[in-house]
Amino acid sequence: MTDILEITDLEVTYQRSILALHGVNLRVAKGQITSLLGANGAGKSTTLRAISGFIGLDNARVNAGRVRFLGEDITGLQLPRTIHKGIVLVPERDKVFTNLTVAENLEVVATSREEGSKWQQIEEEIFVYFPRLAKLRNKPAGLLSGGERQMLAIGGALVCRPQLLLIDELSLGLAPVIVDEIIERLREVHAKTELSMLLVEQSAAVAFALASYGFVLENGKVELEGATEDLRSNQKVLDLYLGTGSTGRADYLANARRRFEERANV
């Protein structure tokens, strides 16, 4: 199986000094859904932003390492050129244009090549995946619920015709029943298009429900990787992300508290 995305020893610093990633290695197989698990501050979002391209505002830089997409070196490539390559990100926050209607949110991203009837077709395609959006098409996106926003954000990203879809925190802040619906929709999209996806999650349950392979990120480094079945039975993952082990979680929390206090003392 070929890899659509390959990251080797990626190091990213913010504001020239704060090291956010210390040598991340990960791969996304073509046509597969891959998950990237990690707690808050582990570097998940930074990894995604490094792939999809920083903008000047971020004040972030890839210090070392390589990002290869479809065999081509795209390290440090900025927006919007990454979009033209086919890498599209669904960001964690502020993922829709709240002052635009649902239909406008989809239309605004379409390239000029897709005018007229072809555009209608694309829009209908998105509404087939997310029927809920079709009913809301003339409603301002600012009035949508969190789940509807997530669907709209994914829809908007799909309009960009990605070859690799990056999703930052699919389930964060959403009700479980909505998460299930979105998972179902994404499975449909994947079944129909075989779109490669990299899914960043804090919830192992969601990541395992969708992905066939996973990476676990901790403190800016990949600690663990493997097929979903292997990760599912891994004791460490169970402890940290599924909350089933008691000792491991207690250890982890104690460690976290100690680190926090050390930092506070400095």
Binding site: L79, I83, V88, P91, D94, E107, V108
Partner: protein
């Protein structure tokens, strides 16, 4: 009834100038404090065109419109482009500097004296008798017509065309716009161009209606409260804000004291800033949810 006509004309002027502030602010959150100077520059471009290229008023005005588009585009490409991604305050201060530079340059090139643009173009600014009791000058009539056309055009553009949609989207969430492949530089350049264009139209018509000198840039400053009262990121708000200020200004001039005309917009500005700082129709700036 004459007073109603005066209110409509003044509303048009403020609204036309205010649309320039709103366009740039709506799209890039930058307050263009050089807008008054850019507006007057439009009128001076007409002077230059009529003196150097053609004396036909219509062709001269059309050429001036083209030049104003070039000016707007250059302001973005040469100056404001560098400010993209910098703190908004830096960009606003850049426009202050631009305004001062333009003012100086205009005095150097065209001198400090008043110019009679209408006579240079042999444009006869006759007063038009609408009814027995209402008369307006030809230039004022054009001002009202241009404002209506510009507003209808801008509203249609912003809400119906794809680039208009992109402009609204970029103003609301520039990062997401970039992440969706919208070229922010194109969007900002478009906003600056349209803003300078509508400002120049106002400048040309004001100059045709009275005389032209550099100090008329203060009209830009007086129209700024109109934009702010309506809400800086709302185009129809600017129209209504312009109406509010024009009504108060004309009534106070008529019934109280003409000397008040220059302070009225700013009194309204202070009042609205106390009561409703985001304006009548503007978006309330929200704190980010963490």
């Amino acid at each position: 009834m004459q007073i109603v006509a005066n209110i409509i004309v003044l509303t048009s002027l403020y609204a036309l100038v205010a649309s320039g502030y709103v366009l740039v602010y709506k799209v890039s959150r930058v307050l263009n404090l050089a807008h008054g100077e850019l507006m007057i520059l439009g009128a001076y471009l007409l002077v230059a065109t009529s003196a150097g290229i053609t004396s036909d008023p219509l062709i001269a005005i059309a050429l001036t419109a083209v030049f104003s588009i070039i000016v707007g585009l250059s302001v973005y490409l040469l100056l404001m482009r560098e400010m993209t991604g910098q703190p908004v305050l830096a960009a606003v201060l850049t426009t202050v500097a631009l305004g001062i530079l333009l003012r100086g340059a205009m005095v150097l090139i065209w001198g400090p004296q008043q110019l009679n643009v209408a006579s240079m173009l042999s444009f006869e600014n006759a007063s038009v008798v609408l009814t027995d009791s209402i008369r307006v000058s030809t230039a004022s009539l054009w001002l009202v017509i241009c404002t209506v056309v510009v507003y209808l055009g801008l509203l249609a553009f912003l809400h119906m065309s794809r680039w208009g949609m992109r402009m609204r989207a970029s103003g609301q969430n520039p990062l997401l716009a970039a992440q969706r492949g919208i070229n922010l530089h194109t969007v900002y350049a478009l906003a600056w161009t349209l803003s300078t264009f509508s400002g120049s139209i106002a400048g040309v018509l004001v100059a045709l209606d009275s005389r032209l000198d550099v100090n008329m840039a203060v009209i830009g400053l007086k129209a700024f409260p109109a934009a702010l009262v309506g809400g800086l990121d709302s185009l129809h708000g600017a129209l209504i804000g312009a109406g509010v200020i024009a009504v108060l200004e004309v009534l106070l001039i008529h019934y109280v004291n003409p000397l008040l005309s220059d302070v009225v917009p700013f009194l309204v500005l202070i009042a609205i800033l106390i009561v409703r700082p985001w304006g009548l129709f503007g978006t309330k700036e929200e704190l980010n949810r963490v």
